[in-house]
C-alpha cells in the first residue's frame, strides 16, 4: 500500500523560502499564502490546496499546518522578527532532503514557479493581498456565472477591502487585465 505523503507541497514551501531569501525579500506567512494561491490559480500548478475567501483574502488553513510541519522537520525556520508583528520563513537544515523527495515536481513546474517569483515575488504583502483578492473575485464570478460590470467589480472589492482606495483597486485591476490574469470588464 502506497504512503500518501505530500512531499511536493512540503518541497514547494522550502523552495519558495529559498528563492525569496535569494531575492532578499521578506517572506512571511501571508506572502506564502498568496504566492501559492497565485501559483495554483494563475499558473495552474496542481499544488492541491483549497483556498477559501475571508475578509483578509484567500486563505488555506491546510497550508498553514503544512508550514508548521515543514518547520518541525527542519525544512524551513519560522522566526518572529524582533520588534515586528510578523514571521519570517527561511530555509533550514533539512531543506535539501525535503526538496529531493519531490525533485520531479519542482523540475516539471520550474518555469511557472520562476515566473510567479519574477512577477509577484518582489511585491509588498499589501499588494499581494489586493491582487489575490481581485483574482479570487474574478474566478468566483466566472464559475458562478455572475456578470459584473467594471464599476460593480471595483465596488465589490472596495466593500471587502475598505482600506484600499478606488485608485489602488483600479490600478491593480488594470495590471492584472493587461497580463491576461483576469477578465477585462466594461
Amino acid at each position: 500500500m502506497k504512503l500518501n505523503i505530500p512531499w511536493h507541497q512540503y518541497a514547494l514551501i522550502v523552495y519558495l523560502a529559498e528563492k525569496m531569501q535569494e531575492k532578499k525579500q521578506r517572506f512571511g506567512k501571508t506572502a506564502l499564502q498568496k504566492l501559492i494561491y497565485l501559483l495554483q490559480t494563475i499558473f495552474k500548478v496542481p499544488v492541491g490546496y483549497q483556498f477559501s475567501l475571508y475578509i483578509y483574502g484567500p486563505f488555506c488553513s491546510d497550508l498553514m499546518d503544512d508550514l508548521d510541519y515543514v518547520s518541525c522537520i527542519g525544512g524551513v525556520a519560522v522566526t518572529m522578527d524582533q520588534g515586528s508583528t510578523g514571521y519570517t520563513i527561511s530555509s533550514s537544515s533539512n531543506a535539501e532532503l525535503i526538496k529531493n523527495k519531490a525533485q520531479d515536481f519542482l523540475d516539471v513546474y520550474q518555469s511557472q514557479i520562476n515566473k510567479l517569483l519574477d512577477e509577484f515575488g518582489s511585491m509588498r504583502v499589501r499588494d499581494l493581498e489586493l491582487r489575490s483578492t481581485i483574482i479570487f473575485v474574478d474566478r468566483d464570478a466566472l464559475t458562478s456565472g455572475r456578470e459584473i460590470t467594471r464599476d460593480d467589480f471595483i465596488q465589490e472589492i472596495k466593500s471587502i477591502k475598505p482600506h484600499f482606495s478606488y485608485d489602488e483597486i483600479k490600478e491593480a485591476m488594470e495590471e492584472l487585465e493587461s497580463r491576461g490574469y483576469i477578465e477585462r470588464r466594461m
Binding site: 504512503l3 500518501n4 475567501l53 475571508y54 499546518d65 475598505p162
Partner: protein
C-alpha cells in the same frame, strides 16, 4: 414575533423565533436528528450518541452570542471603518443565525465519516465536502422557508445569501467579516462541539472558558491592516484553553485508534451500500450523487444513519458491516510519533513494504476530521485597544501555543486475525535497523 425556547444540555435554553422554528421543522433539518455527531465513536465511548441536530442549534446560539458581544463593544469602530449602520448590524445578525443554524444541513450519514464517499468535484479535482452539500441544500430546499416568511420583509435575505455566506462567496461583500464566526480558529462550530462532545462522551478534555472568551471577543487589524476577529489581551488564556481543548480532544477522541478503525469500516459499508442498494439509481459507483441539482440533493438526503442501520441489520452492509456487528475491527500495529521526522516516515515506508498486502489501510492524522494544526488566534494588546488596534498572533506571545506542533501521526492497520503475523514482520524490520 413569537419566541420559543429549547432546552439544551450545554447552553441551557436556546431561544428561537417563529421563522427559525419553521426552518428547524423543515424535513431536511429534522433529518439532522438522524445523523450522529461522532459517527461510531460510541463503539469506544458509549455516550457519544448525540446528533447534528442539537449541535446545529448550539452553534446558532453561540455564534449569536459572539456577534452580539463584538457589536456591543465595537459598534463605533465598525461604523466608522466598515460603514456599518444599525440596520446593517441587524441584517448581518440574522444572516449569521441562519447560516450557523444551517451550516451542517448537508452532512452525510455518520457525519464526517460519510464524506469519504462523496464524488469528485470537477472544479477542484477533489471530493466534494459536506459544506458543498449544505450550500446546495440551502439553495434548493430552503428557498421558500427563508425568503417568504413575513419576518424576512425586514431583512430581504435570500437563500443564496445564506449559502454564499457559508461558501465564502464574494457577493456577500462586507458580511464576509462574520464568516470567521462559523469557520475559523475561533468559530462557534468548534466552540460548541468541543463542549458538547466532552459532555456526551464523559471526558473533560474539551472544556474551556467559553464565558470569558465571549466577553473578550473583538474586531481589530491583522499585521497587514486587514480587519480580523480576535480576542482582547484579557482573554488570552481563555484562547489558549480553547486551543488546548482541541489538542486534547483530537488526541484522545477524534483520532483515537479504535474510533478511526470504525470510520474506515463505515466508509467501506457505505461504498457497498451505494453500489448494491436496491435503490441504486441514487448512487454513482459507490459514491453519493453530486450536489449539482435539486433532484440529486433530494436523493442524497434520503440517506441518514437510520437507513444505514436498517440495511446493516438486514444483512446488506457487506463484509465490513459484519466486522462492525461483531466488533472485530482492524487493529493498529504500528504508529509514528505525533510529529514524525523524515527518518520516521522512511521507516514507515519500509514497514509498509514488508507488510505488503497485510496492510488494510494507513491512517493519517492530517486527513482525519477535526485535524489538529497549530492554531493561531489574533490577540489585541491593551496598549493598542484605543489607537492602532493592531493585533499580535497568540503563537508569538504564548509559550503554551508556541510549543504545540501540528499532529501528523500515521498508523498502519491490519485485519484482527493477521495481527500476530504483522507484528512479527514489524519486529524483523525494527531488528534489521538495530532495535530502533
Amino acid at each position: 414575533m413569537r419566541l420559543y425556547e429549547i432546552r439544551d444540555p450545554i447552553i441551557g435554553f436556546i431561544t428561537i423565533n417563529e421563522w427559525e422554528r419553521e426552518i428547524i421543522d423543515h424535513w431536511a433539518f429534522q433529518r439532522l436528528r438522524r445523523i450522529k455527531q461522532l459517527a461510531w465513536t460510541d463503539m469506544v465511548y458509549p455516550g457519544a450518541t448525540h446528533s447534528r441536530f442539537e449541535h446545529s442549534l448550539g452553534v446558532m446560539h453561540i455564534a449569536t452570542q459572539m456577534f452580539d458581544s463584538i457589536v456591543q463593544k465595537n459598534a463605533e469602530f465598525l461604523k466608522s471603518e466598515m460603514n456599518f449602520t444599525d440596520a446593517g448590524f441587524q441584517r448581518d445578525r440574522v444572516l449569521v443565525r441562519l447560516a450557523s443554524l444551517l451550516h451542517d444541513v448537508g452532512h452525510a450519514p455518520f457525519s464526517h465519516a460519510g464524506e469519504e464517499v462523496m464524488p469528485l468535484n470537477p472544479a477542484t479535482d477533489k471530493p466534494y465536502k459536506h459544506e458543498a452539500y449544505s450550500e446546495a441544500v440551502i439553495r434548493h430546499l430552503f428557498k421558500d422557508v427563508i425568503e417568504n416568511h413575513p419576518l424576512n420583509q425586514n431583512y430581504h435575505i435570500k437563500a443564496d445569501d445564506v449559502a454564499d455566506f457559508l461558501a465564502g462567496k464574494t457577493s456577500i461583500q462586507r458580511s464576509l467579516l462574520w464568516r470567521s464566526l462559523i469557520t475559523s480558529q475561533l468559530d462557534a462550530d468548534r466552540a460548541d462541539y468541543l463542549l458538547r462532545d466532552s459532555h456526551h462522551i464523559g471526558v473533560e478534555y474539551g472544556k474551556y472558558d467559553l464565558k470569558r472568551l465571549l466577553v473578550t471577543l473583538t474586531v481589530a487589524y491583522d499585521e497587514n491592516g486587514e480587519p480580523v476577529l480576535g480576542v482582547e489581551e484579557g482573554g488570552w488564556h481563555a484562547a489558549e484553553g480553547l486551543i488546548l481543548a482541541r489538542y486534547m480532544m483530537f488526541t484522545q477522541v477524534y483520532f483515537q485508534h479504535t474510533r478511526r478503525a470504525y470510520d474506515y469500516h463505515l466508509v467501506r459499508v457505505m461504498q457497498h451500500l451505494l453500489e448494491e442498494s436496491l435503490q441504486g439509481a441514487d448512487s454513482q459507483g459507490g459514491k453519493f450523487p453530486p450536489p449539482t441539482s435539486a433532484d440529486n440533493i433530494t436523493l442524497y438526503l434520503q440517506w441518514n444513519d437510520w437507513r444505514v442501520y436498517g440495511l446493516i441489520h438486514s444483512g446488506q452492509g457487506g463484509p465490513d458491516a459484519e466486522l462492525i456487528k461483531k466488533r472485530r475491527h482492524h487493529r493498529s500495529v504500528f504508529q509514528t510519533s505525533e510529529v514524525p521526522t523524515v527518518q520516521e516516515l522512511n521507516l514507515l515506508e519500509d514497514i509498509c513494504n514488508e507488510l505488503g498486502e497485510l496492510v488494510c489501510f494507513i491512517d493519517e492524522a492530517e486527513s482525519s476530521w477535526y485535524k489538529f494544526g497549530r492554531e493561531d488566534i489574533y490577540i489585541l494588546p491593551d496598549e493598542n485597544k484605543k489607537n492602532s488596534r493592531k493585533t499580535k498572533q497568540l503563537s508569538t506571545i504564548s509559550s503554551v501555543v508556541k510549543g504545540l506542533k501540528p499532529i501528523r501521526q500515521r498508523r498502519v492497520y491490519v485485519p484482527l486475525e493477521r495481527k500476530k503475523d504483522a507484528e512479527k514482520k514489524i519486529k524483523k524490520v525494527l531488528g534489521d535497523l538495530g532495535g530502533a
